[in-house]
Symmetry: C3
C-alpha cells in the first residue's frame, strides 16, 4: 500500500526537503531492507535528490533551470501558460528510488530528497511505496 504525503508549496519554483518525513514513514511502517519508490502524481512538479548542506545549491538549481526553460516562450500553445513547468517535470522526473537497509534510508552524506515544485503555490502529494522485506 502506498503512503500519501501531503505537501504545501509556497512559491512557483521551490525545492521542499522531504527526507525527514520519508524516514518517519519508513520507521512507522516497519519497512526494513529493500527499495522505496517516491512517486509525484503531478505533471508540473517532480522529485529529485540533491545537496542538503548549503541552501545556495537549491537556489542555483532552480534559477539555472528557469533560465534554461523560461516561463514565457512565444511558441507555447498550451493555454494554461505553464508549459515550462511540464517540461521541467519531465526533465527532473516524477519518481525516485532510494535503498533501505536496517530500516534506514541508504543515501550519501550530502543527499536529501526534494519535492520539486515548478507551478506553485499548490497543495501537492508524494506517494511512497516499499518493495523488500
Amino acid at each position: 500500500m502506498a503512503i500519501k504525503m501531503q505537501i504545501q508549496s509556497r512559491t512557483r519554483n521551490q525545492l521542499i526537503d522531504l527526507t525527514g518525513q520519508v524516514q518517519d514513514i519508513v520507521q512507522k511502517e516497519g519497512w526494513h531492507t529493500g527499495v522505496i519508490t517516491l512517486f509525484c502524481p503531478h505533471t508540473t512538479a517532480g522529485v529529485t535528490i540533491n545537496e542538503n548542506a548549503d541552501p545556495a545549491v537549491s537556489r542555483d538549481i532552480l534559477e539555472t533551470l528557469s533560465r534554461l526553460v523560461p516561463a514565457a516562450q512565444a511558441h507555447f500553445t498550451h493555454l494554461e501558460g505553464n508549459s515550462d513547468a511540464h517540461l521541467k517535470s519531465s526533465l527532473i522526473g516524477v519518481s525516485q528510488q532510494v535503498l533501505l537497509e536496517g530500516g534506514h534510508l541508504l543515501m550519501g552524506t550530502w543527499q536529501n530528497i526534494y519535492f520539486a515544485e515548478f507551478d506553485g503555490p499548490r497543495a501537492r502529494q508524494v506517494w511512497v511505496s516499499f518493495c523488500g522485506k
Copy 2:
C-alpha cells in the same frame, strides 16, 4: 518475466501514449499491488509521464526540448548525426516506475505514460516488469 510492448513511431520527435496498453498488460498478467518498471531498450528514445488532457502540452514539451537541444550542432562528432536524440534520451530517462494497487495503475488524474521518440520514425519496444504480489 518482462512483457515486451511493440511501438511504431511516425515522426522524428513524438510522444506516444502507452497508458492503456500498460493497464491491459497489468490486468492480463494479474499483477496486483507493487511497482512496475517500464524500460526503453533504445538509446535515442525514453519513457516519461506527463499531462494527458491537452495535446498542446506534448507539443510544447517536444518543441521546447528541441530548442534546448537542436538537431544540428557544429560540435557533434557522432557520424550518425543523431547526438541530439542521445542527449534527450539521457535527459528524459529510459525508465519509469509506476505504483500498482488492486490491479490498477496508481497515477495522478492528469498523468499518462508516454514513449518519447527522439529519432523516429522507427519500430520500438518498451519492456514492462512487475515487483510485488
Copy 3:
C-alpha cells in the same frame, strides 16, 4: 543488501562504463529475475544508460550538456563553484533501474550503464540492489 562499487573518475566531466562490473555483481550474488536499482550517493554525479558502440556519443552528450549548463554562470551563489554539476546531476538522475532475466541484464543491444561524473576527478561509488528472486 546493497553492493558498493568503487569508481575513480579522471576528468571533470566523464562517462564511465559500469556494465561489465554490474553484470559481474549480478552473477556473483546469484541474482536471477527481477529489477536492480543502481544508486549514485553523490550530488554532483549521476547514472545514465546510453550508447556503447561509438565513443563519439559519450563525448557529444557531455559536451552538449556542458553547453546547456556552463560551468561558470554569474548568478551562481553556491561558493564551491560547482552548481553546474549539481543541476546536471538532477537532470540526468542519480538512479537507474535495469531488468534482470535468467541472471543477465536485460538491456537493448546498444545500451550500456554509465556513471556520469560532473565534478571530477574524484573517488566515487555506485550502489546496486536487487528486488526479485
